[in-house]
């Protein structure tokens, strides 16, 4: 008879490929259980003391000192990592020498090495009787068990971020722009300062931001080499642990919220920097 009576079944799913609901569902379930609910617990907990209680918890001298130490040293370390990271990236990308590949691979060591191992190694190395610590003691320079130990550990773990963010950009900059600058009369120094470094700026900042974020939150690499003396060389993560051991959950959570907020801000900043870098292409 007539074919008009044929009913064409509507597709049940709006998606071409299968597995959407399953994969999204599992993803959301996982994220909710592992990430969102625990984070919610963190965010809510300090406020059982109310806003005033929250402020009181984080504005004690000891807490403020630890936050100052963690954030301050992380910033300092990020700057040091940016400067040396630039030099290291420059040498690795631009120069040819035997052993370059090996040197390049070692850069990732702080990434790959467990933080506790790094912690005890650094601590032993820079202790007054350590290989390097003993060389510095005669000059009155103490690293281990002082805030400088904190700085050193943060420089250690932050370096790969700086180098690895700069390397691909340096490779991309290539030689033509430098040649152009030279033909226009620029000296090598002028070329570097006016052409190369401005082009690297987004990558420099991104690397610095990543090193900073990592340094602020770092625990294992630092607690062995720091003195952990309250209000002097005690980092914020350690203070959180201490408060937990004293069952001051709300106090620990309060510091945790501060750190989480900082992490979130850094995350947004880094993403923003990366899109800025991409737009510059």
């Amino acid at each position: 008879m007539s074919a008009i009576g044929l009913k064409i079944p509507l597709p049940r799913s709006r998606h071409v490929l299968p597995g959407f609901s399953l994969s999204l569902g599992f993803t959301l379930f996982y994220l909710t259980g592992i990430v969102l609910i625990p984070l919610l617990a963190l965010v809510i907990r300090p406020f059982e003391l109310g806003w005033d209680g929250f402020w009181a918890a984080i504005s004690t001298p000891r807490v403020l000192a630890s936050l100052r130490l963690s954030f301050g040293m992380a910033l300092f370390a990020a700057v040091i990592d940016s400067v040396f990271g630039f030099i290291v990236a420059w040498v690795l990308v631009r120069y040819r020498f035997p052993g370059r590949g090996l040197l390049d691979a070692i850069i990732d060591l702080p990434f790959a090495l467990p933080t506790a191992v790094a912690g005890i190694a650094l601590s032993t190395l820079y202790a007054p009787n350590g290989w390097l610590g003993s060389l510095l003691i005669p000059y009155g320079i103490r690293i281990a068990y002082t805030p400088w130990g904190v700085l050193l550990a943060m420089v250690f773990i932050g370096l790969p971020f700086s180098v690895r963010t700069l390397e691909p950009v340096l490779r991309e900059v290539g030689h033509e722009l430098e040649e152009a600058a030279a033909t226009l009369g620029a000296t090598r120094v002028q070329t570097i300062t006016k052409v190369v470094i401005p082009m690297l700026l987004p990558a420099l900042l991104t690397g610095a931001a990543m090193a900073f974020a990592r340094g602020v939150g770092e625990y294992g690499s630092i607690i062995f080499i720091a003195g952990n003396i309250p209000a002097v060389s005690e980092i914020a993560p350690l203070l959180i642990v201490t408060k937990l051991e004293q069952y001051d959950y709300a106090g620990a959570a309060a510091i945790g919220v501060v750190m989480l907020t900082a992490s979130f801000i850094m995350l947004l900043a880094i993403n923003g920097l990366q899109s800025w870098a991409a737009k510059r292409r």
Binding site: L17, L31, A41, I87, I107, P114, A116, A121, R188
Partner: protein
Amino acid sequence: MSKTFSSGAGRRAFTSPTEDPLWLKALLGAVTVGFIGILLLMPLVLVFKEAFANGVGAFWNAVVEPDTLASVRLSLVAAAIAVPLNTLFGIAAAWCVAKFDFPGKTFLVTLIDLPFSVSPVVSGLIYVLVFGMQGWFGKYLVANDIHILFALPGIVLATIFVTFPFVARELIPLMQDQGRDEEEAAATLGASGLGTFVRVTLPNIKWGLLYSVLLCNARALGEFGAVSVVSGHIRGVTNTMPLHVELLYNNYDYVGAFAVSALLAMLALITLALKSLLEWRYADELAAVHRH
């Protein structure tokens, strides 16, 4: 007359405009080698030197000591649970993010990135706040004698939290770059979802997957801060390898601490070597990932 045509070429009176002068190369090279050598290499060398400071025998004894072996077992078990789960998650997340469009995708991806920016201590703290004595479920757990914290489940959870982004973050850009064409073709040819994934997607992502599982595993075995908060540090029971290192070190058992550290360091070096190998041989496939 040939005086005016004295040859200027053939001898370099100056360096090429894009090359650094020799003195600068020497300086920067020395700074680099010195900096890397002192900052990165020396600690590594020290780990092995201290581990074998009393000879191979002492090293071996420290490694086969019961508490050490227990910590190795615990680390391996925790990783054996966390890594596959995270891999599954990573695949699922990459699949829905790369092959489909939906609102809130950016937020989802940011959420996945979060553990990377969060302090390990905070990563452990959040589980204490949920499962601890004064946590949300604390009373309930105590009443039913369920141990999450200070036991394997807590350790596994903390490990999962800090390592779950690894696989997802590597696979998402990789699969996004590869696009949907091949999977769509498979769909038109009648392949099921799982079939498409196994036959079409998986072969394309296999090196990225291997690479990220490798890193995920290394981090899972090496995690310290987060696990430290939830573990309770019970010697021989709830200490993973990094925690055991801390315990030995704090008890002045330096050979022991560095012996276990040497094991972890060797794992790190093997991971780095495999990572370099994969990067070298499969550079193109991994290039997409590293653009992020």
